[in-house]
């Protein structure tokens, strides 16, 4: 009887140890959907003998809500700029000190002292881009570099427009069109924005994040869009063109960071360092079609990326506007405007 018990205990201990050993070889990545190059994951798995599990989200807020709930089991997340700042403030990110890692020298100096992570103690650049819009020039052949196409559309584009289903992107575009400041707490100005949006909404067909699919299926001829998505859509519908509106447009950067409660901390750090190698950053860019902020990655990028009008901004385009997180009163006001718009 006793020996039997011992055998069972030993077997259990072995099984547990085996489980632990297996867990050491894992990395759980939580990234935006359709944003991770599968070949890159394969390369990391082979180089470090680690099994990578990938899960995806569709907005910073979805990711935040899930991470806040705790015990997600995720190690690596890819928050946008303002979300990095929010998550550092909430104590959700681990201070993994990428700035002391081997490959940190590759990070373009202009992306080191950023407002969301001064000196890069928590995160590294993943991809950066702009949010403007894409138009089919076969449908509309006038000047496309103005937000008027979304807010006061010509007849051919009426009812053929998709906007991002994103409170900040839609309201910021409205504020730029009216010439008002970002993070706007002025009620009169916001009321004007609401009127503008309500008037324009009659001409919008959808409000949806899946911009590539909306454009390539022919559901719409204009879509508010991110530049990399614009490039991917153009590959299937060559008459599409990405606009650089003269009123301004949003710039953003997504960043690789490690969660404070990451179960596989060492593998997560390996991944951070891995992602700062130029050839690996280039793999992501070749898939997602955005620039990456890692110097030296250009030589590994697809030829067409280096000359693509979505990536290489024209000389006369305004500088991208990196929008900081707004104070709570402003978020509340934006929420009211957004609910009114969608009621």
């Amino acid at each position: 009887m006793k020996t039997q018990l011992k055998a069972v205990t030993a077997a259990t201990a072995l099984a547990l140890a085996g489980g632990a050993a297996l867990a050491e070889g894992e990395l759980n990545i939580y990234n935006w959907g359709n944003y991770t190059n599968p070949e890159l994951i394969e390369k990391f798995e082979q180089e470090y003998d680690v099994t990578v599990n990938l899960d995806s989200y569709d907005s910073n807020e979805t990711m935040l809500a899930k991470v806040q709930a705790g015990n997600t089991g995720y190690d690596v997340v890819v928050p946008g700029d303002y979300m990095v700042k929010v998550m550092i403030g909430e104590g959700l990110l681990a201070e993994v000190k990428p700035n002391e890692m081997e490959n940190f020298g590759n990070v373009d100096p202009k992306w080191v002292d950023v407002w969301w992570d001064e000196g890069r103690n928590y995160s590294i650049p993943y991809q950066w881009g702009t949010t403007a819009f894409t138009v089919d020039t076969a449908v509309y052949d006038g000047d496309i570099n103005t937000l008027a196409l979304m807010f006061d559309p010509p007849e051919v584009l009426q009812g053929r427009i998709n906007m991002l289903n994103d409170m900040n992107d839609v309201i910021n575009a409205g504020l730029r069109y009216l010439g008002y400041g970002r993070c706007n707490g002025n009620e009169d100005e916001m009321r004007e924005v609401l009127e503008l949006l309500l008037e324009a909404k009659q001409h919008w067909r959808t409000m949806d994040y899946s911009t590539i699919e909306k454009l390539t299926s022919g559901d719409v001829d204009l879509s508010q869009n991110w530049n990399g998505a614009a490039m991917r859509a153009r590959a299937q519908r060559p008459t599409l063109q990405y606009a650089y509106p003269k009123e301004g447009f949003t710039g953003w950067m997504d960043n690789v960071a490690v969660l404070a409660d990451a179960p596989n901390m060492e593998n997560a750090k390996l991944f951070i360092n891995f992602m700062m190698a130029p050839e690996n950053a280039a793999m992501t860019s070749n898939f997602a079609r955005y620039a990456n902020g890692i110097t030296g990655s250009e030589e590994f990028m697809d030829e067409e990326m280096l000359s693509a009008p979505e990536i290489v901004m024209p000389e006369d385009a305004p500088a991208p506007d990196f929008v900081q997180p707004c104070p709570q009163e402003v978020v509340d006001l934006y929420n009211k405007v957004w609910t009114r718009l969608k009621q």
Binding site: S59, E61, T62, L64, A65, Q68, V86, E90, G159, N165, D166, M167, E187, K201, W204, R205, T206, M207, D208, S217, G218, D219, Q328, E329, V331, D332, L333, N335, K336, W338, T339, R340, K342, Q343
Partner: protein, 308 residues
């Protein structure tokens, strides 16, 4: 028979049986308590808390979430003003769910009648066809509807092909598309209970009606409909309630321009960062459903008394 007339052995065996019954019920009761009542309790609790800055809740009690449902606080002078945003969303959802229920009834009744009047050995085949869609995930089926309704989808291409229309009809991303999607999704829930009650229909009664010179409409109204009534009511409840909280259908087919209750609640936990309001909105929805069910239960028991 009273307990005193029982032998001790009989009493003992009764007591044991009662204990066994309780022990066997316990797992089910615990599961109901753990997965149904507790989450509901948490939702109710959260609805009275203060929203955290970046989602989550702060442990300060306030009825604000319920006030916010009907009123909005002016951000400068703090006065309360009536706000119909959320009511509008609820009314739209109720309207669409109600319309879908009527639509499903109009399509489902003839379908169920058709199956119930088939020879017994064929009925299982037809029922199998009704349940067939459940073999595929709802998201996939809704996406397939999107492909059918799209400008260059099956409906528009075939209508243009036979020359009925010249330009594609804009069906997708409208309330019509949501309406069609809801009927499609919930139709089996209407057909199955209707079939269950129509199957029991004694067709000699229908013949008797005709023999007494009732026309078709009178037979339907005075013979078939009363017999099918439990099925009609069960079907309507099974379509209306899930239709009210539908999330995938309006999100995919509605184009995201207008909210239904389900989508409105979802964004409270995402970009709006207001968990208490999301919880309150969910509870208000549940209260509406429970009230509707209570009214139904009362009318049924009244009807039963009147007949009895």
């Amino acid at each position: 028979m009273t307990d005193t007339s029982l032998t001790l052995a009989e009493q003992e065996s009764r007591r044991r049986r009662r204990q066994t019954r309780r022990a066997l019920l316990a797992p089910a009761l615990i599961i109901i308590l753990a997965i149904s009542i507790m989450p509901l309790g948490i939702t109710a609790l959260y609805s009275f808390l203060t929203p955290g800055t970046y989602g989550g809740v702060i442990w300060e009690f306030t009825p604000d979430a319920y006030v916010q449902f009907l009123f909005e606080r002016d951000i400068f002078d703090g006065t309360l003003q009536f706000n119909d945003s959320y009511l509008t969303i609820y009314m739209r959802s109720i309207g669409l769910a109600f319309g879908a229920t009527i639509g499903a009834l109009l399509i489902g009744f003839p379908t169920a009648y058709f199956i119930a009047t088939k020879p017994r050995e064929q009925r299982n085949f037809w029922l199998f066809l009704i349940t067939l869609p459940f073999w595929t995930n709802l998201l996939i089926r809704t996406y397939a509807m999107l492909l059918i309704l799209r400008d260059e989808g099956l409906i528009n291409l075939s209508l243009m092909g036979v020359g009925v229309i010249e330009r594609p009809l804009s069906i997708l991303y409208t309330d019509t598309a949501v309406f069609i999607g809801l009927i499609y999704t919930y139709l089996p829930f209407m057909v199955l209970p209707l079939y269950a009650s129509l199957e029991k229909l004694d067709f000699r009664l229908v013949e008797a009606g005709y023999d007494l010179y009732a026309n078709r409409f009178r037979v339907l109204r005075h013979i078939i409909a009363p017999i099918a009534k439990p099925g009609i009511i069960a079907g309507c409840i099974l379509v209306f309630i899930p239709g009210l909280g539908a999330y995938i259908t309006p999100a995919l087919l509605g184009g995201g321009k207008k909210l239904m209750i389900g989508n409105m609640i979802a964004i409270q936990f995402g970009s709006s960062r207001n968990w208490p309001f999301g919880s309150a909105a969910a509870l208000i929805l549940m209260a509406l459903v429970v009230i509707a069910l209570l009214i139904y239960a009362r009318s049924v028991s009244k009807g039963a008394r009147a007949h009895g």
